[in-house]
Symmetry: C2
Subunit: 166 residues, 2 copies
DNA sequence: CTAAACCCTATAGTAGCTTTAAGGTCAAGA
DNA sequence: TCTTGACCTTAAAGCTACTATAGGGTTTAG
């Protein structure tokens, strides 16, 4: 099985597979005479495992931890539970932060009901001084997460945009 | 006011302010004889505006749009409403995706109740074949967003880690 | 024999910063 | 006066998890 077929089976791009190989999640693939990568059924299983974990939004580091356990079938799997539990916690926390954000934004939005001169816009005023809306200043931790999570959206938007242009 | 004081006033790092200047959100700062950047009260206001918007998780592009309106006080502010409304939509969508993810993860977590041999672990098995948990495969769009959002967490963890080592 | 479809490597780009390296400026204290 | 240390400067690299691009080589169908 060559890389294109493997990508199809796993629902990802060929370049992503090469990336996983470079990142050490997949072993260096065997090669044909023409230097094409070759994949066995168990290689595909490993790749599918990774993609499933990614579809649950786990990081490559978390997946590495799961793969390590998977690679040692007699060992104890308690790490697995820990990884999943922590991952659930992260997501839960993130949902809470987003809900606070949404409330703040809705409050902010309420300050300008119709199109008017910018100098009279309640939203611009509110952003200009003191705290935005009635919001308690987000903690440093929350803020960091939010800021970075947002990085996400850019990337998402960027990739959506580039998809469009394909 | 020099850059350090400005950073303190806005609750960010000095390097972040330089970054905003490079990114064109802040005008090129004036300089002292010793080539230090100098900030006026209105420069600080602009910076605070940016930071407030960022604390609401807006992108620099969205903020640029708000600043443009702010810079033309007689112009119509309807762009502002549009930016905020769209931003609220993004966040709402993201919350929904995360809630689906959380349900999937909780389902997955239920498949292994105690530490056991890795080869018997229900979580590893589930990740290994077919679809994870009972989850409908996330749409391409959702998946992209999620994957990228997660990028975020790495960054968050990274910056938390580096904070620790300071 | 050639064109299309596939594969290869290496490099750069994405958002919004943060970190690092290698310095220059300036005020206070010995 | 000299130096220590706190502050500032620029430029470049790093972070995640890819994706895209450039510039090639291989294989296979017609």
């Amino acid at each position: 099985m060559r890389i294109g077929e493997a990508a199809l089976a796993a629902g990802c791009q060929t370049e992503t597979i090469r990336y996983y190989e470079r990142a050490g999640l997949l072993p260096k693939a065997g090669r044909t005479d023409g230097n094409y990568r070759q994949y066995s059924a168990s290689d595909i299983e490993r790749l599918v495992f990774i993609r499933h974990a990614r579809s649950l939004d786990m990081t490559l580091d978390e997946i590495r931890a799961l793969l390590d356990v998977r690679d040692a079938p007699e060992n104890n799997c308690s790490t697995v539970n820990a990884v999943i539990d922590e991952h659930i916690d992260h997501i839960t926390e993130r949902i809470q932060v987003l809900e606070v954000l949404r409330r703040q934004l809705q409050d902010l939005r309420g300050r300008c009901q119709q199109a008017q001169a910018a100098k009279d816009c309640g939203i611009l005023h509110q952003l200009g001084h003191s705290e935005p809306a009635s919001a308690p200043k987000p903690t440093q931790r929350a803020r960091t997460r939010v800021r970075n999570e947002r990085t996400a959206r850019h990337v998402a938007l960027a990739s959506r945009a580039s998809r469009k242009s394909r």
